[in-house]
């Protein structure tokens, strides 16, 4: 037992993050009889999972009986440009149907087919209609269902509690963490036999993003500091359709479901430009003409897929090119048009949140007018390197699941594969942690020197009278990353970013915070910035090293995909374990795909 000078709690399994992955992990660990604690920096039920709109991908075959896990596996690997951890893609495709049915057993209410099964909708990169959904608020349904299950089990949830750093025991195993309470600013320590990281993404380091204040990459950074590795950090998904006007909502997500349900993209000349951007990899399965594409919506055997439903990386790049060529809207976007293609009743029933979002925030009626949209930073494919079956990281005692884990999505994630990722690997992380504890390797007591280091780092900004405001540093960081490591990258800009990130490190060391410790948003931001900087550094290092274009990483100076770079991930580790320690980058070979799975990928070419 740890003796801590702060409020202290002990658990078997400690879960950091209360989104879909964290909650599903908690249910699994709890059902295995373990004592589980969940820490979240927001209130329960507010995690970023609620922002997921379109659906959860699972090859249940309810709409197209031809669908099965093998097709889903193939789609995921091709969408990820073969940079995926194949074993994760295999487990994900096999297990996601059971995870969806399980949600119904816990009270979820999905939209139905005529014969009463779960309805599935079309999305980019999925060969068949595969996304179980509830209108365009599927993420809310998922988090509420898991939240209500967790509450019914009586699991301890620490809300508005911000974790600063993982803490080891004397043997170097991960043994818990140190955190602080938002409401009064007091520190608290947690001891645990195993820790599961489920903190989500890191989009907050870019200027235009779908992410909330929470997406600061805490879990990525804390795992790296604690001895885990990060992979594929250069692979960032810019969602093709974010709002662009008014400026105050720029970046806000517009669901891919708009395109799945018949919406098309047009440039300022009114042309459906996506037909000009079909890459060879997807040529055989994509329609050549508008007539053919339009037939596909009603019957997938009557025509090939519309090019608007190519994977997100392709669509985002195409929009970017159109705007650069001067064929964009006055606010720098393109038009997403469903109004001219579907009835107002259909649009309001299938896309109620989008209807309200545009009506209330932009004064646009999407049943009558086209939406102005453009790419927005949405998701990081990269994350903590994990062992596929158990979600174990390279740091003993630490597991990771959901967006903060890497590997499943390779270089680009398909829409709908995120929610299924959360429940498939959330459950596996809970099981992995339980098995680790059963094997008797679990950690003992917290190294209090590490706790005191984190506390001092957190409090230092109060002692600097004339330092810089954390808000200014964050704003400049977002501008810099948007400009230098955005959707299209080039060596000179990335190199400049790497130099600038060192300057930002110095600025963070001289931050100053005003006010007290109780619910102080400026102080909270100051504690976010070290993680944000660590993550940005790994993104820039991955981006400079990957001298090719693949998925969510596009180099202007290396526009082609290079087979050499398709054999390994760039992995990063920390040399020193502090937030300002140097980061070492190396090549980490991809797992060898067994022949029977390789056949699934080749057969479908």
């Amino acid at each position: 037992m740890t003796t801590s000078p702060y409020e202290h709690h002990d658990y078997d399994v400690l879960i950091i993050g209360a989104g879909g992955a964290g909650l599903r992990a908690a249910i699994e660990a709890e059902q295995r009889g373990l004592k589980v604690g969940i820490i979240t920096k927001s209130l329960l039920g507010k995690a970023h999972t609620v922002m997921a709109e379109g659906g959860i991908a699972a090859a249940m075959g309810n709409v197209y009986s031809e669908d099965n896990w093998m097709v889903h596996f193939r789609d995921t690997m091709r969408g990820g440009k073969m940079l995926n951890n194949y074993r994760m893609a295999e487990l994900h495709a096999k297990e996601s149907p059971d995870r969806v049915w399980e949600l119904e057993q816990w009270g979820a209410l999905f939209d139905r087919t005529k014969d009463g099964k779960i309805l599935q909708r079309d999305f980019g990169g999925h060969r068949y209609a595969r996304l179980a959904h509830v209108g365009d608020r599927t993420g809310l349904e998922l988090i509420r269902t898991l939240q209500q299950k967790v509450v019914s089990m009586g699991t301890d949830v620490y809300m508005e509690c911000k974790v600063l750093q993982l803490v080891h025991d004397a043997s170097g195993r991960v043994a818990g963490c140190v955190a602080y309470w938002r409401h009064n600013g007091e520190f608290v320590t947690f001891g645990a036999k195993a820790v599961i990281m489920a903190t989500g993404g890191t989009g907050r380091s870019w200027k235009f993003t779908t992410n909330s204040w929470e997406g600061t990459g805490d879990g990525h950074a804390m795992s790296l500091w604690a001895g885990a590795k990060l992979i594929d950090m250069e692979c960032i998904q810019f969602h093709p359709t974010g709002m662009v006007w008014p400026l105050s909502v720029r970046g806000l997500l517009v669901t891919e479901g708009v395109r799945g349900d018949g919406g098309v993209l047009r440039n300022s000349e009114g042309k459906r430009f996506m037909f000009n951007y079909v890459p060879d990899m997807f040529r055989a399965e994509t329609a050549d003409t508008e007539e053919e594409a339009d037939k596909w919506y009603d019957d997938h055997s009557a025509g090939r897929r519309p090019p608007e439903l190519l994977p997100r990386d392709e669509v985002a790049r195409a929009i970017n090119t159109e705007v650069k060529a001067g064929r964009g809207t006055p606010h720098g976007g393109v038009l997403l048009d469903i109004a001219s293609r579907r009835t107002p009743e259909f649009i309001r029933r299938r896309l109620p949140s989008m209807y309200h979002q545009f009506m209330e925030l932009a004064g646009v009626d999407i049943t009558r007018e086209a939406m102005e949209i453009g790419p927005t930073c949405h998701y990081i494919m990269g994350g903590v390197k994990v062992e596929a079956d158990s979600a174990a990281t390279d740091a003993p005692g630490l597991f990771a699941a959901g967006e903060c884990a890497g590997g499943l999505h390779g270089a680009n994630r398909l829409g709908g594969n995120s929610l299924s990722d959360l429940v498939v690997f959330g459950r596996r992380a809970g099981a992995g942690a339980a098995e680790y504890i059963e094997s008797g390797q679990a950690a003992t007591e917290l190294d209090m020197a590490e706790v005191e280091y984190a506390v001092k780092e957190a409090l230092d900004p109060f002692d600097r009278a004339d330092g810089e405001s954390p808000y200014d540093v964050q704003r400049d960081l977002q501008e810099m990353m948007q400009t230098n490591v955005g959707i299209i990258r080039t060596a000179t800009e990335i190199e400049d970013a790497i130099v600038q990130l060192d300057t930002f490190t110095e600025r963070v060391k001289h931050l100053s915070v005003k006010g007290g410790r109780a619910y102080n948003p400026g102080w909270n931001l100051a504690t976010d910035l070290p993680a944000m900087l660590t993550v940005c550094k790994t993104v820039a290092l991955g981006a400079i090293n990957r001298q090719e274009s693949r998925g969510g990483h596009t180099r202007e100076d290396f526009p082609k995909t290079d087979p050499h770079f398709g054999t390994f991930n760039f992995a990063h580790s920390s040399d020193g374990g502090k937030w300002d320690s140097p980061i070492i980058t190396h090549e980490s070979p991809l797992l060898e795909i067994p022949d029977e799975l390789k056949a699934l990928l080749e057969e479908a070419k």
């Binding site: 507010k46 809310l140 909330s212 105050s248 209330e360 925030l361």
Partner: protein, 259 residues
């Protein structure tokens, strides 16, 4: 646009006061944008709770010009001219500035007896769209707690919080009651312990719901009818007396084996 005076309540549990800030709104900005710009430029420790800034998470609830609203969905240009007052939700204890302690709602959530379906048949349950739509309306709830904030049963009577679940949880009970698969009967509980009878259907909750859920008409009134049916229908009453199953508590229901 011209400068606007933002009159914001600053303080904590021990007390507080309004403070005025002057700022020029940009086109399309919502109240939450203004709060964020004040934090970045004038008052870095101004406390407010927010997450998605898209009306989907229900975190940034407050009272704008006295009306319970989501700050992220309230456009500055839609407010009348003159100073804009922003105050924390009145029904809940203050933590700091615009942030309140909403734990009342989490206590009520923990009292809801769990969903209890029959075992799932091979290939999944069959339910029909028209049957799930009733529950889906209530599951749109983003838990902003504005309905709880506006409900006079607890807004003006702290003592009622012990035996009144509030509109947010009445729609939760209604959702479970109308769920095609649920087998757990909560009608006595919602009547006897959750205070459904205190609601005198003034519809204030429906008016402030940012998700436009028909809380009163589609949830509370039907729930009241079902409770009455359970109480006064002599055949149903007798039937329940004879083979009355105790309702499953949350923790009992939770020990079902993992599917």
């Amino acid at each position: 646009m011209t400068d606007v005076t933002m009159r914001i309540w600053r303080g904590d549990a021990s007390g507080g006061e309004f403070k005025d800030y002057t700022i020029e709104p940009n086109e399309g900005e919502v109240v939450l944008d203004i709060i964020h710009r004040l934090q970045a430029t004038q008052t870095p420790d101004l406390a407010c709770r927010w997450n998605c800034k898209a009306g989907k998470c229900g975190s940034c609830s407050a009272e704008v010009n006295g009306r319970p609203r989501l700050m992220c969905m309230t456009r500055m240009q839609d407010l009348p001219e003159g100073p804009v007052t922003v105050t924390p939700m009145k029904t809940f204890p203050i933590i700091r500035d615009l942030v309140t302690d909403v734990s009342f709602n989490f206590i009520m959530a923990a009292k809801v007896p769990a969903f209890l379906p029959p075992p799932m048949p091979e290939g999944g349950y069959r339910m029909f769209q028209k049957d799930v739509e009733r529950g889906q309306e209530f599951r749109k709830c983003i838990e902003c707690f504005l309905c709880q904030d506006v409900c006079h049963v607890i807004r003006d009577h702290e003592e009622n919080k012990e035996h009144y679940a509030g509109p947010r949880f009445f729609i939760r009970y209604a959702e479970l009651e109308m769920h095609p698969l649920d087998t757990n009967d909560r009608r006595d509980l919602v009547h006897e312990e959750m205070g459904l009878g205190y609601c005198n259907i003034t519809k204030c909750c429906t008016e402030v719901c940012p998700e436009h859920i028909h809380i009163t008409d589609n949830a509370i009134i039907p729930l009241k009818e079902r409770v009455v049916d359970a109480d006064y229908d002599p055949i149903a009453w007798l039937g329940r007396k004879i083979r009355r199953k105790p309702k499953k508590s949350a923790s009992e229901a939770a020990v079902q084996p993992a599917p």
